[in-house]
């Protein structure tokens, strides 16, 4: 892709949007500006943790994790049009798969202590298989019925998690997550690389960054493939898609499985950041967080999912730092007008409403407006 793109770039210098072949038009980063900014952005992300406090580094890693989960949900909801509230359930399945395979055995809780090279792919594959088993049921219903069905899945899943004590530790108790030891190399330990101190949260940050970049590129690539187009066809008019020869069952199953794969990976990584996971973690409200990621970020865009994840994860931090200026309680108490937790939840709720009403394309849509404004500068259009 890049060699063909750069060649055409060379022959049409100064006219970056003039494509002389199909490959360069279909390239993931089809303009020079995108390529430049991706490189700058990546370098910034690599350098960033060395300038941030430790809790912010952990928050950065959480952003990557939410991006992965958000991209998964966006493939399902944004691209394939299947509204799902079950994302939290698949995150949980991934987290417990990882914990069983890669965690330690302690008391009654099972843990095999395998390497991350084994548990990480399986943490995605197991939820994907579970989703593929459930998907034929889900493929029978559409729209709001599906949303309600997946809501049921979250509650049933939470119950199962609470009851499977050898795997999850049981309600209120929980268990330790998987150990991120990759090929014998612990990725959650303070390291000394070439004289530079790297603390364990920074290590985890880089781990999540690498996984995130790989999975985001895969998703971006997937959406412009044959399957990605079949997703969009099912979303836009499922019957028309079926008439054209797109199998609804196969497409929806694929969408659910891929979405669950992303959710599983996100769940496994999230459990490491949380440190100790209880069955109550994977509840209805976590699913709403992921809905917020894609609806605030922008439906059917990978970039939008990332923007949404940044927003959703960093909002509590932002709200926290605003406590000095607003009549709100910095704790979880009853002082002030609202406490921090309540304020951030309310902001989520209001923003979901505001974005859906005013800018259905989300933060990504806002960015498009800004970009198009300056593209035509100094003319208004």
């Amino acid at each position: 892709m890049s060699s063909a793109a750069s060649k055409s770039q060379h022959t049409t210098r100064g006219r970056p949007r003039l494509y002389t072949n199909y490959r360069s038009e279909m390239a993931i980063f089809n303009t020079g500006a995108k390529r430049l900014w991706i490189v700058i952005g990546f370098v910034a992300l690599v350098v960033l943790p060395f300038f941030l406090a430790r809790d912010l580094v952990a928050l950065g890693a959480t952003v990557f994790i939410f991006s992965i989960g958000g991209i998964g949900l966006n493939l399902l909801t944004g691209y394939a049009g299947q509204v799902s509230l079950a994302q939290a359930f698949f995150l949980g399945v991934g987290a417990y798969t990882a914990a069983v395979l890669g965690g330690e055995s302690r008391g009654d809780v099972i843990g095999l202590g395998w390497d991350m090279a084994i548990w990480l792919p399986l943490a995605g594959l197991v939820p994907a298989v579970v989703a593929a088993i459930i998907a034929p049921l889900a493929a029978r219903v559409r729209g709001l019925y599906l949303a309600i069905l997946t809501l049921g899945l979250v509650f049933i899943g939470e119950h199962i998690f609470k009851e499977l004590k050898p795997i999850t530790g049981g309600a209120g108790v929980g268990r330790a997550p998987a150990e991120p030891v990759f090929l014998g190399f612990n990725l959650f330990e303070n390291r000394d690389v070439g004289g530079i101190e790297i603390d364990r949260f920074t290590m985890l940050y880089f781990t999540c960054l690498v996984i995130f970049v790989v999975m985001a590129l895969l998703a971006r690539n997937f959406t412009r493939s044959r399957f990605g187009r079949s997703f969009a066809a099912v979303r836009d008019r499922d019957i028309a898609a079926e008439v054209m020869g797109v199998s609804l069952l196969r497409t929806k199953t694929l969408a659910f499985a891929i979405s669950a794969f992303y959710a599983g990976i996100a769940g496994a990584l999230l459990s490491i950041i949380i440190g100790r996971i209880s069955p109550e973690t994977w509840n209805f409200f976590l699913s709403i967080d992921f809905l917020a990621v894609i609806f605030i970020g922008g439906l059917a865009t990978i970039t939008g999912s990332i923007m949404g994840a940044v927003f959703v994860v960093l909002l509590p931090k932002l709200v926290n730092s605003l406590t000095g200026f607003l009549p709100i309680d910095p704790g979880v108490g009853q002082g002030g007008l609202l406490n921090v937790f309540e304020l951030q939840s309310i902001i989520f709720g209001v923003l979901i409403i505001v974005f859906l009403i005013l800018e259905p394309r989300g933060l990504y849509g806002l960015w498009l407006r800004v970009r198009n404004y300056f593209k035509a500068w100094p003319f208004s259009y």
Binding site: V141, I148, I156, Q334, I346, F348, L356, P360
Partner: protein
């Protein structure tokens, strides 16, 4: 026998609450084609206002319930006007997601209003029991069933017999034609949200009656109305009643007998029984018992 009967009555009682919540969903779905995920929050707010009028101001239970219903009808209409009206003509799932946002906002407001103290609704039932065919049953369960059936009956009468009800049904049937016939469609949307909010408030008051007080976790109880409307059919009021009672009884019987006969299913299994029923129904009969079968066209 006594155990079976008292557990059946308890199921009918909670089923009455589910039926009211189900109707609250159905009214909005019929009028606007949206499943209102904010209903649980409306219900909690309804319970709060009942408690507020009953305990803080000291009004009798019946009056405080009616006032709470009026307040919630207003909140429902306001929500519709502010958040849902701009979504007319947009995909149903976008509008449904707006109600998820509304749910979060209203639930936080309810939690803040409730505060940390337990608020009762000052109901006359309490933990009173009475003898019924040799079984001890809670008065509140019988009250829930009767109030639920009466309220739903009134709504049904309003929809079928009154001029406005006819207009509402016409709007549900075809919005553009209703507009052409001089019906104020926007007002019908508002009205359906108002009725729905009032129903939710009544359900909330009856749910909290006989318990120790209002908690925001009751919102999860209200979500069980979703299995109810799936079983009954998204657009059928009759379906809501029948399905509400079925789900209530199924849940209550499970709570009584599952720990004895199937303990391996785990503690609190009854909480997820409605969802299991719902999934089975979606597999066999996706449009529910009385729902309109969806006609698929290219």
């Amino acid at each position: 026998m006594g155990e079976l009967l008292s557990s059946l009555i308890r199921g009918l009682g909670i089923g009455g609450v589910y039926a009211m919540l189900g109707v609250s969903f159905v009214i909005i779905y019929r009028a606007t084609g949206v499943v209102n995920f904010a209903t649980p929050a409306l219900m909690i707010l309804g319970a709060f206002f009942t408690g507020y009028f009953g305990v803080s101001i000291g009004l009798p239970f019946v009056i405080s319930v009616i006032l709470a219903m009026i307040v919630l009808a207003a909140i429902g209409m306001l929500s519709e006007r502010v958040a849902l009206r701009p979504m007319v003509g947009r995909p149903a799932f976008s509008a449904a997601t707006v109600t998820v946002g509304l749910f979060i906002v209203l639930l936080i407001i309810a939690g803040r209003l409730l505060g940390s103290e337990l608020l009762t609704v000052n109901d006359p039932f309490g933990l009173n029991t009475l003898e019924f065919l040799g079984a001890r049953v809670f008065t509140v369960d019988i009250a829930r069933l009767i109030v639920g059936l009466l309220a739903i009956g009134l709504v049904g009468l309003f929809l079928t017999r009154s001029r406005t009800g006819l207009a509402m049904r016409a709007t549900a049937f075809d919005q553009e034609t209703s507009l052409a016939q001089g019906i104020n469609v926007g007002r019908m949307f508002g009205l359906s949200w108002g009725i729905s909010g009032a129903m939710a408030a009544l359900a909330g008051a009856m749910l909290v009656a006989g318990t120790s007080g209002v908690e925001t976790t009751f919102a999860l109880v209200a979500l069980k109305a979703l299995p109810v409307i799936i079983l009954g059919g998204l657009d059928s009021i009759k379906g809501s009643v029948v399905a509400g009672l079925i789900i209530g009884i199924a849940e209550s019987l499970t709570r009584t007998y599952q720990p004895l006969y199937a303990p391996w299913l785990g503690a609190n299994f009854d909480v997820i029984v409605p969802y299991i029923i719902m999934i089975v129904v979606l597999m066999i009969r996706p449009y529910g018992l009385y729902g309109t079968k969806e006609v698929v066209r290219v």
